[in-house]
Symmetry: C2
Amino acid sequence: MSAPTRPALDFQAAFAARVRGMTASAIREILKVTQQPDVISFAGGLPAPELFPLADVKAAAARVLDTYGPAALQYSTTEGHPPLREWIAAQSGIPAQNVQIVTGSQQGLDLLGKILISEGDTVLVEAPTYLGALQSFQPYLPNYVQLPTDEGGIDVDALEGILKTTRAKLLYAVPNFQNPTGRTLSVERRRRLVELTAEHGVLVIEDDPYGALRFSGEALPSLYALGLELAGDVDRNHVIYSSSFSKTLVPGLRDAWVQAARPIIQKLIMAKQGADLHTPTLNQMIITELLPILPRQIEIVKQAYGERAQHMMARIAADFPGGVDHTVPEGGMFLWVTLPHGIDTQAMLPRAVERKVAYVPGSPFYALGGGENTMRLSYCTATPAQIETGIKALGDTIREALD
Amino acid sequence: MSAPTRPALDFQAAFAARVRGMTASAIREILKVTQQPDVISFAGGLPAPELFPLADVKAAAARVLDTYGPAALQYSTTEGHPPLREWIAAQSGIPAQNVQIVTGSQQGLDLLGKILISEGDTVLVEAPTYLGALQSFQPYLPNYVQLPTDEGGIDVDALEGILKTTRAKLLYAVPNFQNPTGRTLSVERRRRLVELTAEHGVLVIEDDPYGALRFSGEALPSLYALGLELAGDVDRNHVIYSSSFSKTLVPGLRDAWVQAARPIIQKLIMAKQGADLHTPTLNQMIITELLPILPRQIEIVKQAYGERAQHMMARIAADFPGGVDHTVPEGGMFLWVTLPHGIDTQAMLPRAVERKVAYVPGSPFYALGGGENTMRLSYCTATPAQIETGIKALGDTIREALD
């Protein structure tokens, strides 16, 4: 005789209030639809794997284990592997104690959300913005305000108006080759953004995973550098900077960093201790070992992405109908397409998949909705032939939708 | 002329309310004091590095990179590397979809706290309990209730009384060779704990990093297995199980897992996506590659720790004054020493360090205070000679304090 069945525990009732802020990535659900093997996908957000320095990683792993022995596999400090922190700090001319190593920049965003966002705090985000940041911040139940953007990035006049009427805690931005739009914030706007936020006591999180991957135009000063110039003191800079080795070396090791004023770093260390003790030791040592090949690797990646972007834009010019706009990225992995109003890219996606091509509809990138007629295209993992076939098929899909 | 200095942004005012729940690990601060090179330290919580399967890890890393190529370095799924999830699931005879890979069991605790603990929720913890769990849970601002314990672990009669008068959300326990005490919860108490919590609708987190490292006595059923028996359905089990490869293979790769009912796992996946996207791909593949040597490795580690524990207990019997009690661990890494009332082990620590020996005072392991006359000793990284010299010095320190 089996035991009498008890009433099931009500798991839904057990969840914390902040679970209501958690959502599965809309993109993740979309990607499932598009992952048929014969579909040409411009939907992914992955870097090109054929460019990974596979042999270098293999040699680095062996060398690290020979050099450090068991210490490469032991627990290590929460702050991060000292030579890696020092190298990162030296790039910005700041002390190593202002750098915290994190397990992918996603963790940096989560920990920053954890230490900074109280329920209902206003967080300013670009419209559209990086979806992963929304996922990191949402459990902390912020109140989002969308910043209007145009070709030059955030509209700083609009920002000024918002700052005058809204008490904001935080501004989150991706100034270089933004995900999803590929846009870059101009230097004049950078200066005004940094000054305005400083004036209004608003912290800035500058997320810069793609900055090193500029394939045209001139490098611009980071918000972090401008904030440092303004504050005159690394520990009074109101800009927090986040970057990663995921797009320049490899993403699967999950090595990234945050650099910020000491009061922020001190709380980050505590938050990280509770979150995962430390970033994997071996991985940090492998990344450190790969630093000498980083400049070469950056050249390889940006040349490839630059060629693929050019090719995609040329094919768009040839194959898309009139009335369709797109951004012209100067680096990074994405471009952004705006179709005539009235076309819903989410509704159009099944038609594109029927024609064996996929993209990500734009509206999930808006914290508060919008962009129904937009889409994100990644050019970085497609071959020239795939770009030709895929863009032609997408052009046909759009033409059909316009009819 | 330099720019006028602006008033510094008030970082302290910018922090979220939950930051007040974050503290630097008390142990971490203590360890700094004890890390003089000539001090014999029983204070650490690290596994013995000379037992790490270094050559196997090196071979596994090379094999993984050869076999999987760039996929070993690419982004991967949030749930975890499928073969690793399947292997873990098979150990408990459950489906792989009930397993979530996490970046060290610390991350599992953080994510469980994130999805389950609302501010003010009552969390039942052993007195004393694992400090890292308190650090993971504290940012979510729980209300702790301490469960009295004795040689057999949690006092389940006391638990029953508390459950009748307190509406608790969660019970957190380490039933096997607990950190910090080395105690094991008896099988009768396990059954009652599982029944009582099920009856009162209280979720249980069973943290089991040391379970495989039993060097004496008989293996006992996990709370998870007893919960499964009671619920009769893997997706209705109110016990959530957490374990890790950190103590059996190596900690520096940060590979651990949570197994639980699907409603819990579904929210964990979302929380993990926001927290770090996924556990490093390469590391999960290396761990999977090491699974064939896991049984051999467990034998090596538990034999070594068993010998070291025996040796330490023999030296304690010979060198400590009367009136000092200690636990007799059947596995794991720690034993727990109780001195006569009135001796404060925190105050005594500098005297011990003067005699070139270190331990961790017990009171930081109490969520609500207590245990001023207790200390945790780790036997797992000390040589026989260090155990002899260190225990003698510690005996002398205690004798001096008793005078």
